[in-house]
């Protein structure tokens, strides 16, 4: 602020001016500026308060409804800035004068808003606070002269602010003189308030009052009633925010504030609880939920004594809720009765939610009174007495309801739990079913006497299977209460937890429970599968309950499980894997092995794994064993690395057998199982596999070599598959080995396979012939390792002891001389070396690849001639393509430039070369597992082994695609020959087949025209990719396709109903898929006009030769029939 001396009157007039201006239009300078100046003057004593008022005089007395308020506002603003800088500045005298002045103004309707602001500011001055008569005067006059009814919401708001401010800064004691006027004033302004913003603050004050002021229930009876009423009269509050609410108040804000207002004051209880319970009769779930939530809050917040007083009526109300409703949502196989975060899971207009909250309250009720033992005793006693009859008879129609109630109560606290256990397992309640002797009733057990009178008739004991199911299910809820308590204590209070685990009364009954369940499991005939499943669910739960079962007891249960598996496998050889009970066991074991204590995993490994493995044959000669299903069962169980490790060792033995007995199928199956199990387990929880390199890899590798050598001579030897899967297994293991080991690993393999040295790490006798001295199928196995080992530091050009360049030379040499003999086998080897070439170029070779130039030379020459391609040329071309693939994967500029050149050759005149180039694009783009860094199925961004096995630049495909797409489009459009047009299309389609949708998306609109053209090309390969792309386009951006529907739909239908060598089954299916998306994904109004004609034309498709086509065709027609219905 400038130092210049200000003339107060001018400043004031400026203030008035700009505030008025502000009203009308926006003005540059803010009124605050001037009020600050004024307060500055007062602070610097240049201006006394009196003078200040005098200066304002004319305005204060002005006739204008506009001016007067400004004057007051000016005072208010000035006061505000005064007190913030120095709240001592005003003398008691000043304050008194001001107060009197302002209070007289309370009747000036136009200014009241600012009067209230003034008062709010005023009462915060120190001298005001210390001199109580002022406040008293303020309140009394306010109460007398201020009448909220006659003002707008924003004015009324100020009055709330005033009271809230007072409440926050003053100690208002019940006895003090200000007490009455204050409370009265609040009730005065709060009554009949409707504005949401004001209600929020009103509830706030209500809460604040409950916090700060201690009432006397008797003396302040009326006040309490009033205070309660000004809040509760709004309950249940419903509010839909106006379109442009400046304060952004939501219905929830109001609801929860109101709730805490009601639950804020224990002394409200005698009014709140009955009124709430009365409102519970509403049928609208939203209301009922609101009521219950509020009730819940009350139970949580009110003093325990109060709850003690009211528990009975609350209980009666809640009990009613449960007993008279369908409680099917509560599922016995879940771990808790009331899911912790049900509020998020279930929304408020769900009619089941009240039930959930109700049970929640029941347990909170108990929890609240935890420390008042005798009350708990009392509650449990009367509750159990009340429900005794329902609970003692499974056949009772509210059996489940009653169990839920006691179970919830039991989960509230230790004492309640024990009492209820004693009650439930006492002879005349459940004991009789469990075959307990009446003596097991503890003397302490409640209402012992009438238990004796009530003799148990035998037919009570004989339960139908259905009833047994119910009983088992309901055990579940009791176990849930155990779970609730134990897990709560475990997180809160270890000591209490230990004592609970040690002393809880469920311990007294677990034996009989176990025996009972065990018997059901063994005795109940196979027909009662559901009963068995339910039993298994609860046994599983028992195992998982913290600290309940001993190790022996657990292994006993696992014994049961094991028996079930073994028996079913023997008794239902056809369908055992579909058997529901087996499924249930599987689920149980999985969830136990996941997470829970390693102890249990050990037990499972001991009790169950051996028997399953026992079911596996030692060689293919052993017939009638269903290896596949057993393996898949084992696979399903395996999600824990301990289990996996044991499994791998055990299976290793099998593998050795299989390799010796040349049982190829089984060998492959087993290897696949291991791969999947590893992936699954790693996904579940990553772990390093270093130890495997010692324990597993050597013998495994040996077995591969063994079985491959065995198979090679045999005719139907699918050696290729053997090598692929085994290689994958090795690869994935390597990827999970600490990367520091990788170099030596690579050495070991190179040593063995490339150098064929005698004393190799894998003890392979006799040593293998080096795969660079003679073409060998093992190149493919070796490639897997080469691919998966961590990529070398820059500049490393040696693989083990071998020079990269030598390798390259060899690869090229072998690629040029073809073996003859079995087709697939040799092609496989041939490609093995090409891939090796690609790998080495990508990983180990950085310097210029001189030979590429020569090869490109050849290609160019051929492109000029129209002669057909020689065998030799094709080989050279392959070498060229695989080399640049290696380069392109690391976005090496050289590679890219060559690729560009290739594409440009598509316009050449040599037809054969063109199609050769097109096809080679799929080589460059294809994702062989070999060339991908981490198994897609493993969803970790980072491997813990830190392995980064490949020089694959992220998104290299995107780069490449975006580089060559324009060339292709351009070429397509410019070329006149239909033949060359289509060679562009084939190229494009070969690329599309190998790139992910998300790369494709942004270019869809560019590609669409080509796709539509290519739909009329007589070539399955093109059609395939065109249709695939077409479906993507329809799904991703239908608007592009809509203009073309007229031609597209008939074309697609045509493909479907014209089967021939081009429109193969696969093509027809793809075409149908496109049609399905057309009619399901595109807006109705665009497709409706094609409905009838398409439906009729497709009738032909219903008689297709292939069943799959017929099926999809009728599915599509079904869609069409329902279209727009």
């Amino acid at each position: 602020m400038s130092e210049s001396i200000h003339d107060p009157s001018t400043v004031v007039s400026q203030y008035i001016a700009c505030t008025t201006a502000e009203e009308s239009a926006n003005s540059s300078d803010s009124p605050k500026e001037y009020s600050d100046i004024l307060s500055g003057l007062v602070l610097s004593k240049e201006l006394s308060l009196l003078q200040f008022i005098q200066v304002l005089g004319p305005y204060l007395t002005s006739e204008s409804e506009l001016i007067r308020p400004k004057a007051i506002q000016c005072i208010s603003d000035t006061l505000a800035s005064l007190r913030t800088t120095n709240s001592k500045i005003l003398s008691r005298q000043d304050l008194t004068v001001l107060l009197d002045f302002l209070l007289t103004k309370l009747d000036d309707k136009s200014s009241v808003r600012f009067i209230l602001q003034c008062l709010t500011n005023l009462c915060q001055f120190e001298k005001f606070i210390t001199f109580s008569p002022l406040l008293e005067k303020l309140l009394t006059t306010f109460l007398k002269d201020y009448n909220p009814k006659s003002y707008l919401a924003k004015v009324r708001y100020e009055s709330f602010v005033l009271l809230k401010t007072i409440l926050t800064i003053y100690e208002i004691v019940a006895s003090s003189a200000v007490f009455d006027p204050f409370v009265q004033s609040f009730v005065h302004i709060a009554t009949g308030e409707k504005d949401p913003r004001n209600l929020l603050i009103s509830f706030d004050i209500n809460i604040l009052i409950s916090e700060k002021i201690s009432f006397d229930p008797v003396q302040h009876k009326d006040f309490l009633i009033d205070l309660f009423d000004v809040a509760f009269c709004y309950f249940p509050i419903s509010f839909t925010p106006p379109a442009n609410d400046p304060y952004k108040i939501t219905a929830n804000d109001l609801k929860s504030k109101l709730r805490s207002a009601i639950a804020g004051q224990s002394l409200y209880a005698k009014d709140s609880i009955p009124s709430l319970i009365e409102k519970l009769t509403s049928t609208n779930p939203i209301v009922r939920n609101d009521v219950l939530k509020t009730l819940k809050l009350c139970v949580q917040n009110y003093e325990p004594e109060v709850i003690e007083q009211y528990w009975l009526i609350i209980w009666n109300a809640l009990k009613y809720e449960i007993l008279h409703n369908d409680v099917s949502i509560f599922q016995p196989h879940e771990d808790l009765i009331v899911n912790k975060n049900y509020n998020e899971l279930v929304n408020d207009n769900d009619e089941f939610k009240p039930l959930i909250i109700t049970l929640d309250i029941v347990s909170i009720l108990g929890f609240k009174l935890e420390d008042t033992d005798d009350t708990i005793q009392l509650i449990v006693h009367s509750v159990t007495d009340e429900l005794r009859d329902n609970l003692s008879n499974v056949k009772d129609k509210v059996f489940k309801q009653s169990v839920l109630l006691v179970a919830s109560l039991a989960s509230s606290c230790n004492l309640a739990f024990n009492k209820i256990m004693d009650f439930l397992f006492s002879y005349e309640v459940w004991g009789k079913y469990l075959g307990n002797e009446p003596t097991t009733i503890e003397p302490s057990s409640l209402s012992n006497s009438d238990a004796m009178e009530r003799e148990v008739t035998s037919d009570d004991l004989t339960l139908t299977v259905a009833k047994q199911r119910d009983l088992i299910d309901n055990f579940g809820f009791i176990l849930n209460s155990y779970n609730a308590i134990s897990s709560r204590l475990l997180n809160s209070n270890k000591a209490e937890y230990d004592s609970f685990v040690a002393t809880n009364h469920l311990l007294n009954y677990k034996d009989s429970l176990l025996i009972f369940l065990g018997q059901l499991l063994q005795s109940s005939s196979n027909l009662e599968k559901t009963l068995k499943s339910k039993t298994i669910q609860q046994l599983k739960k028992l195992i998982q309950l913290k600290g309940l079962l001993s190790e022996d007891e657990c292994s006993l249960i696992f014994g049961y499980f094991n028996d079930i598996l073994v028996e079913t496998i023997n008794e239902e050889p056809k369908s055992w894997d579909k058997d529901t009970v087996v499924q249930e066991v599987k689920v149980a074991l999985r969830s136990i092995m996941d997470g829970s204590s390693s102890k249990n995993v050990e037990l499972i490994i001991q009790t169950i794994l051996p028997n399953l493995l026992g079911k596996l044959p030692d060689s293919q000669e052993e017939t009638d064993s269903d290896v596949e299903r057993i393996l898949s069962l084992i696979g399903d169980l395996c999600i824990n690395y301990k289990f996996l490790e044991i499994l791998s060792i055990r299976l290793l033995n099998k593998l050795t057998y299989y390799s010796q007995s040349n049982s190829r199928e089984y060998y492959i199956l087993t290897v696949k199982l291991l791969i999947n199990s590893i992936i699954k387990t790693e996904n579940n929880h990553q772990f390093l596999m270093n130890s495997w390199y010692k324990n597993f890899v050597p013998r495994f590798t040996k077995s591969i070599v063994n079985i491959v050598n065995e198979s090679k001579d045999t005719v139907n030897g699918s050696v290729e598959e053997l090598i692929e899967v085994s290689g994958d297994l090795l690869a994935i293991i390597v990827r999970y080995i600490e990367k520091s080991h990788h170099e030596s690993i690579l050495n070991d393999f190179t040593d063995c396979f490339v150098n064929g040295s005698k004393l190799n790490y894998f003890k392979i006798e006799p040593p293998l012939e080096s795969l660079i001295s003679k073409q060998s199928v093992f190149i493919n196995l070796y490639n897997k390792i080469l691919a998966s080992v961590n990529k070398p530091a820059k500049g490393v050009v040696k693989i083990g002891s071998v020079d990269a360049i030598d390798f390259i030379k060899q690869d090229i040499a072998f690629a040029k001389d073809l073996l003859n003999g079995d087709e697939t086998y040799n092609v496989y080897i041939h490609l093995g070396y090409l891939k090796n070439l690609c790998l080495i170029v990508n990983k180990y070779y950085d310097s210029e690849l001189s030979y590429l130039a020569e090869y490109y030379q050849l290609i160019e020459e051929v492109s000029l001639s129209s002669s057909s391609l020689s065998q030799g040329f094709l080989q050279d071309y392959e070498i060229f393509v695989w080399s640049i693939k290696g380069l392109i994967m690391k976005i090496d500029p050289l590679g890219i430039s060559y690729l560009d050149k290739l594409i440009s050759l598509l316009s050449c005149s040599n037809g054969e070369l063109k199609s050769l180039i097109s096809k080679s694009l799929s080589i460059i783009m294809i994702d062989l597992p070999l060339f991908t860094n981490v198994q897609q199925s493993i969803n970790h961004s980072k491997l813990i082994s830190g392995v980064q096995s490949f020089n694959v630049r992220l998104l290299y495909k995107q780069r490449i695609f975006e580089i060559i797409l324009p060339t292709l489009i351009e070429g397509f459009n410019s070329s006149t020959l239909s033949s060359s047009k289509s060679s562009y299309l084939i190229t494009l389609s070969n690329i599309l087949q190998n790139i992910p949708t998300k790369i494709l998306k942004p270019h869809l609109s560019t590609i669409t025209p080509l796709i539509l053209t290519s739909l009329s090309i007589k070539d399955s390969a093109i059609l395939k990719s065109s249709l695939e792309t077409c479906e993507i386009i329809i799904g991703e951006s239908s608007d592009i396709i809509i203009p073309h529907l007229q031609s597209l739909i008939p074309r697609l239908v045509d493909i479907v109903i014209t089967p021939n060598s081009v429109n193969t089954e696969e093509i027809r299916l793809l075409s149908l898929n496109c049609l399905v998306s057309v009619f399901t994904k595109i807006e109705l109004k665009h497709v409706l006009k094609f409905q009838k004609s398409t439906t009729i034309k497709l009738v032909q498709g219903l008689d297709d030769k292939r069943r799959s086509v017929r099926k999809l065709c009728s599915d599509l027609r079904q869609v069409l029939f329902e279209l727009g219905r």
Partner: protein, 207 residues
Amino acid sequence: MDDPINANPTIIDVSELPTRLENENKKGTGEQLVAQIVSLSLLPKSAKVSASSTSSQVPDLVSDSGSEDDEEDEEEDPVDAQEIFDLISSISDPEHPLTLAQLAVVNLADIYVPDHQADKSKICEIVIKITPTITHCSLATLIGLGIRVRLERCLPPRFRIKILIKEGTHQSENQVNKQLNDKERVAAACENDQLLTVISQMLSSCK
């Protein structure tokens, strides 16, 4: 239906129903991979073993519509009882949230399809016998109608569909049979909107 006519029917677990759906040929991942790899060879010799077509000369931009000429001899999957069953088993019962197969209203054994029907120019009759959940089930007709509509939508016109109540499983077997197989009645029923709504409800669960 407010109060179901048969409140608690016996239910077959879905997993125990015979079906051909989704258990179609699943080739070993290994084999596929090998095929894929081998297909990458550019050498003509490997054309035989390659998976995707290696058309050595570029095809022409000609529409093939209606060109039946080079009719590829794919082998024929004849329509059989299983196929019919798969079409109708997942129709849901009008009063239970269950499928007709689960309720054993339709059974594979009660579907008769003649063996020689490959000739697409010949008419061929398919007979389906349905077993109502209870002998006085007033919904039998509706169920039968649902089945007929489903099949008329899914089967080519050369098939004549005969839907019968399984002998002795319904009080008014004959009336129902007569109605279900009266072409005109069915046609008229299919133009009745309420009825159609119920039926599309039933068919909505079809797999």
